[in-house]
């Protein structure tokens, strides 16, 4: 019998899971956010803990070490959406991004496009958080324009030789395995891109950490492949289909970014509200001045719009309906609203907002990535604009 998901999406089952996810985030992540951010790293143990709790595997079948019961996969996806929202409570965009890169990129590509053998081999340890994965598409000269990537995979006896450079790869600096997009034929454009699974110990593979404005713990890396041999059994899916696999995953990637952005916006709004109602100026709380009351009214309205738009996309996604345009809409709008929320929060904190001692600056720096990562706002508008002119 098909799972039924109501218009309001979340029922008792989801709320129960939300409480569990929130308890974990509040007890085991949030208290360390400041320390990890300063260190620009967080322990691998955290990834194992997330795996142990089953949070990486919410949307994957039990036979690969996941949590989704057969026939109830949609419920697993819904739980994953809840987790994505709750991770905003960590107060560290970087930690949420590392967990996200594992659950929504690395493992998802293996699950959707990998062979049964690849799934059996990689999913159980990845879902347990024992190995950390990353997805490497972006290059120094090809970001949103995926078809312009230059990393090459040359066919050799028994496999391929990878040559090229990838940048801005979340989890890239500490990943044990990376799904890499490379050209298996000269092109043009979309054709001739393939996906490979590269293990970290491969000779010719080197990397460095790239420091980032926000998301400081995200282990963002630059990866260099100098004739790295990848055995042919590590080709993911069919040769030449890589671009289409990437596109197929875009909707979910954008949807989780929107979900995380809305939850982040709500969180930073709550903290700004709390502060503005305690802090006094000219004899009354700052938030009680009409100018701020109205600005907060605009802000909370925009957050509610972004939330309802994002949930609309989540419904369409769960129903299996095409929603590339809607996902682009939600991603652009939610991440922009989230940055606005963080900026307004920083403003209402005044001088404190500008100090590194207060967490609002981190929320602000973290939120700035939203309109850039996972396809810029300009690309999202381009997608929407194409749907208008088509």
């Amino acid at each position: 019998m098909a799972v039924e998901i109501p218009y309001e999406l979340f029922g008792e089952e989801e709320e129960e899971f939300r409480r569990a996810a929130r308890a974990f985030v509040e007890k085991e992540l949030a208290p360390h956010a400041e320390e990890w951010e300063r260190a620009e790293a967080f322990p691998r143990e955290v990834m194992r803990r997330v795996g142990e709790l089953g949070f990486f595997g919410l949307k994957y079948p039990e036979k690969y070490g996941g949590q989704a019961e057969e026939g109830r996969e949609a419920k697993g996806i819904l739980a994953d959406a809840v987790l994505t929202e709750e991770l905003a409570g960590a107060g560290s965009g970087g930690v949420a991004a590392s967990i996200g890169a594992q659950k929504d990129l690395f493992t998802l590509y293996l699950y959707r496009f990998g062979s049964e053998e690849q799934r059996q081999r990689w999913l159980p340890p990845a879902l347990a958080g024992e190995i950390i994965g990353a997805l490497a598409v972006t290059e120094p000269e090809a970001g949103s324009d995926v078809a312009a990537i230059k990393t090459r995979a040359e066919r050799v006896e028994g496999g391929y030789l990878l040559r090229g450079t990838k940048v801005f790869i979340t989890n890239g600096a500490w990943a044990d395995a990376v799904v890499v997009a490379a050209r298996t034929s000269p092109g043009p454009g979309h054709e001739g891109i393939s996906l490979f699974l590269l293990e970290a110990g491969t000779p010719g593979f080197s990397r460095r950490r790239i420091r980032t404005l926000g998301w400081r713990t995200s282990q963002t890396g630059e990866l260099v492949f100098e004739d790295c041999f990848v055995p042919e059994e590590n080709l993911i899916g069919e040769e030449g289909r890589g671009f289409y696999y990437l596109v197929e995953n875009f909707v979910w990637e954008r949807l989780v970014m929107a979900l995380g952005a809305v939850a982040g916006a709500e969180r930073v709004y709550r903290s700004a509200k709390e502060y503005s109602l305690t802090r006094e100026a000219f004899g009354r709380p700052v938030g009680k001045f009409q100018s701020w009351r109205h600005r907060f009214a605009d802000l909370v309205t925009a957050i509610e719009e972004a939330k309802r738009l994002t949930y609309h996309v989540l419904r369409l996604y769960l129903a299996g309906q095409p929603c590339l345009k809607e996902a682009a809409m939600a991603k652009a709008y939610a991440t922009e609203v989230a940055f606005l929320a963080a900026d307004e929060a920083l403003q209402v904190h005044g001088g404190y907002g500008y100090m590194m001692e207060y967490p609002v600056q981190r929320a602000w720096r973290d939120a700035r990535l939203g309109p850039i990562g996972g396809g810029t706002s300009e690309i999202m508008r381009e997608i929407v604009a194409r749907s208008l002119s088509a």
Partner: protein, 383 residues
Amino acid sequence: MVEVEARVDTTVFTPEHEALRQSLRSFVEKELAPHATEWDEAGDFPDWVFRRMGELGFLGLHYPVEYGGQGGDYFCEIVLAEEMARCESGSVAMAVEVHTDMATPPIERFGTREQKEEYLAPAIRGEKISCLGITEPGAGSDVQRISTFARRDGSDWVITGRKIFITNGVRADFCTLLARTEQGFNVFLVDKGLPGFTVARKLEKVGMRASDTAELVLDEVRVPASKVLGEEGKGFYHIMWELQGERLVGSAGMVAGAQILLDRTVAYARERKAFGVPLIRHQALAHRLADLAIRIEASRQLVYWAAWLVNKGEYPVREISMAKLSAGRLSFEVADACLQVFGAYGYSMEFPVQRAWRDARLSRIGGGTDEIMREVIGKLEGF
């Protein structure tokens, strides 16, 4: 991932709502839209619109069958507002909305059987046209400060005061009117023909020109106690209740209007060329239109969420106020951006976009200004 089937409620609407939408659309496109320009220029539209809509059952979509209504749910009113936006005349849509979603809901909710038979049933048939009398020269959004006064005289009430910006005020047969009393506020059902109840003037407006907007004067208008709607002294709360439904239905209409205008503008931008290529191939313009499309979808989903809460029996003042603020601002912003795309044609009185622009400006004023919405939201949020 989601290869496995799930039954998901992706929309608040049922197939019955969609069927209603189709019949409304065909009526609006065939019988109303062709007259939009003519009516706007004449500064009026004929009363047959109400009677025809009554005949078709469109004026009582969510009213009980026993009074001639269709017995539908709240979403039917949302569908009505969305489809009325296609009549291309904000005036006509507004006039009908005042009748169906402002002046008559309090009768259905608070009225006696006699009042429903005398006012609601003929209003549903389109035989009696209604208006809502709240605003006064000295009190708009600040409803508490109205000064129209109802004095008790034996078992009658004698009402004196002025009401302004009253949509349908000229043509209406009766007015659902708020007045102050010794005990608080009362809502009265006041027949237009009564001695002392006169239309002082018809107001000229920037937009919404086909809708009649009146200033009404009440000079010792005597009504019996049976004309008090709802509880004596509770009139303010009755009206506050009414405002919520009005705002949400209005918001649905504004979003739908914005979508229609955007669609028209996109069609124009695909045809019209500049520098050898269609306007829509100019990226700055395409992205501006994309941005409007995003904002419209966000606003629409917020409206649907609020409507879903209402239909469930909740009274979501926060979400309704947000929807009104969102849709009202969006409505004018979209109209202005679209006027820009049409260039000098947009500025010409020969093209309909200027009318949409003028009509849309009211969205940020009528039914509670942007500023009032921000006050309500801000206060509910604790600021």
